[in-house]
Amino acid sequence: MRALRNIHSALRPGGLLLDIHPEPKHPWLVAQVDAQAILVGQLDESFRIGTVRFARAALQRGVDDGLFIFERETTFIFTYHFADVDAWLDHMAGHWASAGVPADMAERASNLLATGAGELRIPREIHAARLRKPKG
């Protein structure tokens, strides 16, 4: 709530708050091989799911307390594209360490990519909401 109160102080009356975060789901790793999408396995996003639920509750408290008025929301698919298994694993280690990668997933992905031309993808559902600071 401290963060939301500071954001409220930073915004001019009528100013907008755009909140963007992943939906609390375990995303799939997909092998796109010869124009065919094959599910490789699911990443374990348990940690992120917990933080998203906490954040949503905090935002709702901000609305309930009158700091912000909810206006609009949408969802979209944010897709990560990886040329090969090494690129995917490097990204996970460097930028997405909160997710768990099942032990056999890299081998499965490597075997699938070996069957044809393709890449790995992670389509991730993202939620975006617009809220407004009241003018009064």
């Binding site: 500071n6 907008l16 963007i20 490097d90």
Partner: protein, 104 residues
């Protein structure tokens, strides 16, 4: 234009995120505070329209990367700062838009 983070990786080359944020917010001429700007990936998707942008993040390495990746045309309008939003003080309202980017 695909956003290539490094060789072999592309993040949202379909620009679904860009379409979504611009559908929700008109950034033209706005003063924007972005919390959790990271390496500036999202910042670069709206900075060209905003009047000013202050991007903050806890991670100094990410802020350095964000500054290095910023197009020269946005240098005068965009400032990146290592900061914790919970510790920042705003004596007067100065922003039209605040973005919580995967970070609340």
């Amino acid at each position: 234009m695909a956003i290539i983070e490094r060789l072999g990786v592309a993040l949202d080359p379909e620009e679904a995120e860009t379409r979504a944020i611009h559908d929700l917010i008109d950034f033209m001429g706005r003063d924007v505070l972005e919390i959790g700007c990271g390496d500036g990936r999202l910042t670069r998707r709206f900075a060209g329209r905003a009047r000013s942008v202050l991007g903050v993040d806890l991670d100094a390495e990410s802020i350095a990367h964000a500054s290095a990746q910023l197009p020269e045309s946005s240098h005068s309008a965009v400032t990146f700062q290592v900061a914790d939003i919970t510790a920042m003080e705003f004596p007067a309202p100065a922003f039209d838009v605040a973005i919580l980017s995967w970070s609340l």
